[in-house]
């Protein structure tokens, strides 16, 4: 059934046990992004060392999709080069927008969010942390 395609076990697992949650020092930039239609908020920090994403830390309120996607983002990005990270963001965004097939090699657990593409009202939830990350990375001077 459709609902189970949306709420995959990977998503519920990340939601119940978020990875990398909490705001940490040091960081190069911090941003706050909000979803004005539902009031979801995320504060996200990016720490870049040289050309590498050394940490992504975050705190926020939101639904399972937005919280789980922040957790997956943290897992995927830490240790990547900024260039790689931006390419992952692009792949994830394309998939959520229904413009590309899920590619597990690139976005790992992010493929669990492929079902979101069928729910236009939830696309913003899935992308909230990712857009915040993109914004913060640019501000951190990492690109």
């Amino acid at each position: 059934m459709q609902l189970e395609q949306l709420y995959q076990d990977i998503i519920l697992d990340h939601y119940k046990k978020p990875r990398g949650r909490g705001l940490r020092e040091p960081y190069g930039a911090q941003v706050r992004h909000v979803n004005p239609t539902c009031g979801d908020e995320i504060d996200l920090r990016v720490h870049v060392v040289g050309d590498t994403v050394a940490d992504v830390s975050y705190e926020g309120m939101g639904c399972s999709i937005s919280q789980a996607s922040a957790s997956v983002l943290h897992e995927l990005m830490v240790g990547r080069t900024v260039t790689e990270a931006m390419s992952i963001v692009d792949s994830f965004t394309e998939m959520i927008g229904g413009r590309a097939e899920p590619d597990e090699d690139t976005i790992g657990d992010g493929v669990a969010f492929a079902g979101v593409a069928k729910y236009p009202a939830r696309v913003k939830c899935a992308l909230l942390a990712w857009m915040a990350f993109k914004d913060a990375s640019v501000q951190a001077g990492g690109s």
């Binding site: 609902l3 709420y7 539902c38 009031g39 979801d40 908020e41 939101g62 639904c63 399972s64 937005s66």
Partner: protein
């Protein structure tokens, strides 16, 4: 589990009004026959927008098919018929809210525009040296409440920023009522306008206005009600409420979108400067300046939403035919049932009065910390349509310490069976996220 049906003892006032035949009502709403995600549609989002009965749809179709012409400017037959239909709708709306004259009913795009029209009257009078009742400056105060929809907050914030006036507000008590304990200080000789929500779109609270209105009169301020969530559900009479302005919208009361209403007392509308400029609102236009029509035409620039107004008139006929007293009592019984049923759901916390007294059929809640988006998604998979989020009343969410709420809003076509389906759906939500 399901709550037992509430039995109302004989002798209660609802026996004075005809009982609503909900099966007959439901047969008037074609959309209720459709399925959503393989389930019977259970529409619990009428506070957002109501569904439309066939009677309204038929009148609008017939207007386009037989009477379509522009209003207030044509000598031909179609134009005359269209004008008669448009002005006829104004008279129906005026009668529906007990307005002494149809000239006190201004058609707008929605309730938001109706409120903005009043806010801009203050701004325009302030800038243009208009009637002193509408001129504002530093030291003047506008009063709203923490319970307002954003549409009764933001226009006043903008007005105060632009004029130097101060915006103040009533708080909300822990019992989800307006906090009137500060009334005498809050509404004072500096107060120029008090604008309050009559029925909250999020808490369901129906505000008692007489004490506040009395104080407003004492200090010589103006009094406005946002009745968007009240007019569709209960009898609202502008003389009984003794308001200067009243705003509401068509699409929440079985009418179409794109049509709202501002009721204004004649002497005030006459003192207000024009709002939007253009055709229909003018008397004479010269290149050096223009003169303007009296109200309501002064505030209806351009071709108005004609068929939408006609549709609203049909909605008023439909509701009046059933009887607003009957609708109000039916919804009250349904609200009693819903409050009992929701109280039986483990981990569910209602934000709003827990008794069906001084409240309408709008019930917001939190379920065990499961985010409302997720609640709404799982319910939707079972055909149940509820609203989730901050409901354009973010200060209310902040007041009660939650980012969002799930909201059920009942209307005349809902049944106890709808509420049973909702309660079963909430059990499913708990199953997914526990």
């Amino acid at each position: 589990m399901t709550a037992s049906p509430t039995v109302i003892p004989p002798g209660m006032p609802q026996y004075d009004v005809p009982a609503l035949d909900v099966d007959k009502v439901r047969a008037d709403f074609p959309i209720l026959d459709r399925e959503v995600n393989g389930h019977r549609l259970v529409y619990l989002d009428s506070g957002n927008t109501s569904q439309k009965p066939r009677q309204v749809l038929d009148v609008m179709r017939e207007h386009f098919e037989l009477h379509n012409g522009n209003v207030a400017r044509s000598v031909h037959t179609l134009g005359t018929e269209a004008t008669a239909a448009y002005e006829g709708a104004r008279q129906k709306v005026a009668a529906f809210i007990g307005a002494p004259s149809a000239d006190e009913v201004v058609f707008t795009k929605n309730a938001t525009e109706a409120i903005n029209l009043v806010a801009y009257s203050f701004l325009n009078a302030t800038v243009g040296g208009g009637d002193p009742r509408f001129r504002l400056g530093p030291g003047d105060e506008i009063v709203v409440s923490e319970m307002e929809h954003h549409s009764n907050i933001v226009p006043w914030q903008l007005l105060c920023e632009r004029t130097g006036a101060t915006l103040r507000w009533f708080g909300i008590t822990d019992q989800f009522r307006l906090d009137e304990s500060t009334l005498d200080e809050l509404v004072n000789e500096r107060t120029r306008l008090v604008s309050l929500v009559l029925a909250s779109n999020i808490l369901g609270t129906v505000n008692a206005t007489s004490r506040i209105r009395q104080r407003v009169r004492e200090v010589g301020a103006l009094f406005m009600l946002d009745a968007s969530q009240a007019v569709p559900h209960r009898p609202v009479n502008v003389v009984d409420y003794d308001v200067d302005f009243l705003a509401f919208t068509g699409h929440k009361m079985c009418g179409p979108t794109g049509i709202g209403v501002l009721y204004g007392r004649r002497e005030l509308l006459e003192a207000m400067p024009p709002f939007l400029g253009g055709g229909s609102m003018i008397e004479t236009v010269r290149m050096t300046g223009s003169t303007y029509m009296p109200p309501p035409a002064r505030f209806e620039a351009g071709t108005p939403p004609i068929v939408e107004a006609v549709g609203l008139g049909a909605a008023v006929d439909y509701l009046s035919g059933l009887g607003m007293d009957s609708i109000a009592w039916y919804e009250k019984q349904l609200t009693v049932y819903a409050l009992e049923a929701l109280a039986s759901v483990p981990g569910l916390r209602i934000f709003g009065p827990h008794m069906a007294v001084g409240r309408g059929g709008t019930i917001s809640f939190d379920l065990d910390g499961v985010h409302p988006h997720d609640v709404g998604q799982v319910l939707d998979a079972q055909g149940v349509q509820v609203r989730v989020g901050h409901h354009c009343a973010r200060p209310v969410c902040a007041r009660f310490g939650v980012p969002a709420m799930t909201r059920v809003s009942l209307y005349l076509y809902n049944t106890t069976e709808d509420i049973d389906v909702l309660v079963r759906g909430l059990e499913k939500v708990r199953g997914v996220f526990s």
